[in-house]
Symmetry: C2
């Protein structure tokens, strides 16, 4: 697991993949650790700003070559594609960074440190290869119960790439600022890069998913509230197993269902229609309640691609349909969801 690494001066590699969803690791690091990012590396977009190509990151430049950023000490792989393999075309850039003595940080399934060419080069240059997803989890869940006063809120999804991590981080930060004792529990490579700890549960051997999550909760249940990052969806043809193992491992009392306005098919699988939100609320509650009392307390809408008017209309429609608070935490602020969290644990409203 990487340390928070506050001395990192990053170039983020997004070559040919720049964009808010295609390069979601880059997007989130730009949002939550902008002070670390010197540049994006994408020769197809060189000369633009991060804001222009990623919708976040302000004036951070997009450059064509490592030569343009001599002060950088770390190359970060900025994408997390399905399957998590290293694009063949990126190998030369990674090797160039290693030969300069730069560290390389990756959240891919294909580990840099298992690649003989990369690890030989790193041994010569003294570079560190950091594979955020690499883990050795081998503990099954004990299911002995968590501290009763620790409220666990879990962001779950209609799909992947809808903002489950972002919502968990935004709620954590907003409630911390209001004086609550909260922690964000990261369960994916980007969340771990931002928080500095967590467990990459989509890369854990499948018998140990729930055990790995349980361990994260036990380590952090001294806090009053945990916001546990969700993964995938119970209805995702690829990742539903990860989603359920995570749901059962953290036994959340409260669920926040996340979705993107206007999306109709599974991300990257245009032949698979998404399930309706009402059906998903029922499904998540049924599955969560197998392990302990749990309810959906609110809906987090990602309205990135919508106008203010469209977002407002959708917010009202969904709220009326489901009888739940609905908001886009970036557009509307997280207050409605924070109220829902506080209602679940009345004493917190005072604190």
């Amino acid at each position: 697991m990487p340390s928070p690494a506050t001395d990192r001066r990053l170039v983020i590699l997004t070559e040919g993949h720049s964009g808010p969803i295609t390069a979601k690791t880059a997007n989130s690091v730009l949002r939550y650790q902008p002070e670390q990012v010197l540049a994006l590396l994408d020769s197809t977009k060189a000369g633009k700003t991060a804001q222009e190509v990623m919708d976040v990151g302000g004036q951070t430049p997009v450059v064509a070559s490592l030569d343009d950023v001599p002060d950088a000490n770390t190359l970060m792989i900025g994408i997390a594609p399905a399957g998590g393999q290293i694009p063949q075309a990126w190998r030369a850039v990674i090797l160039a960074a290693i030969s300069r003595g730069m560290d390389v940080v990756s959240g891919l399934h294909q580990f840099l440190s298992d690649d003989a060419q990369f690890s030989d080069a790193a041994a010569r240059s003294g570079s560190k290869l950091v594979d955020v997803r690499k883990n050795d989890e081998q503990d099954v869940a004990a299911f002995q119960g968590f501290r009763e006063d620790c409220l666990r809120i879990h962001t779950v999804g209609q799909d992947c790439c809808v903002g489950k991590m972002l919502v968990a981080i935004e709620l954590t930060r907003a409630m911390q600022q209001a004086g609550h004792d909260c922690k964000f529990v990261a369960t994916g490579q980007t969340g771990i890069l931002i928080e500095g700890d967590g467990s990459p549960i989509d890369c854990v051997v499948s018998d140990f998913i729930s055990g790995a999550v349980e361990k994260q909760i036990l380590e952090n249940e001294n806090h009053d509230i945990l916001f546990v990052e969700g993964q995938g969806s119970l209805s995702h043809p690829r990742y539903s197993g990860v989603t359920l193992g995570l749901l059962h491992g953290c036994q959340p009392q409260g669920l926040i269902l996340c979705y993107e306005l206007g999306r109709t098919t599974v991300h990257g699988m245009g032949h698979v229609p998404l399930k309706p939100l009402a059906e998903l609320c029922e499904l998540y509650e049924s599955m969560a309640n197998l392990m302990g009392p749990s309810q959906v307390i609110g809906i987090a809408m990602n309205s990135r691609a919508a106008t203010a008017e469209q977002a407002e209309a959708e917010r009202q429609r969904v709220s009326e349909e489901l009888g739940l608070p609905v908001c886009d935490v970036l557009r509307h602020g997280p207050e409605d969801l924070i109220d829902a969290v506080c209602q679940l644990k009345p004493q917190l409203a005072l604190g």
Copy 2:
């Protein structure tokens, strides 16, 4: 993946763990490949027969030492405990087998071939170390659909260790004998040892569970009927993620729910009550139907610990409660479940 290895002359190591459930790998190999087994190795039960300590295996002897079975050429690890670690006390026996040049076959999560002491010894003696669970699955599911005429029947469970593999094998063999074109699709280490192929899905990296299963189906969908071995349970606090990833990966049209008569708590977790069968039927159908039409077509009861009278009363009670055929495939034969399979695909009844 091991070959069927018909020249194997096995000693199965069950030291201190002999018993039909504690040594479930040994139990199943004794049941389905008795011709390969020369002896069980358990010094605490030496002098008895396999039948006496395992409820299966007839006159196969239980011995105290490898010296008692000079003809054996392979040591097989006969247990599959939660977590899958090698009992410390077994290391000496495994090393002794390796030093004799015997191959060692293991289905544990802790790989023999990753252990420096074992692999060094094997390199010296020429022994083969076969880790059945070792895999390199890195493909996500494509979910492009299966051959329409391939009927997929999936054995699912109220719990682990209730007989999901056994039911799938018994149904496959009975229907093969009746002339149907069937195959057993193994998804766990013991099933793979018996069938000679399959995927150890509880040891696959969790993002790739459904993809690994899908690959098994695509490789075998030329058959008319596949019986896909289930794992764990949707309500199992440790393994539900594996169960759901498997369920969604094979998209079964028919489900057979397996349980053990008299069991009230999760195997090995006495503090966790089991969920009622009726609730589980609904849950499995809800989750399976996310990917395609699917229904529970019958109940497989494991009545190992019951009298004939108790088993008959339970069979009637459950059948009336759920409106489904119920049988113990070993005690009553598999006919009722075969009828249910044939009803799901009427044209098969003729063939």
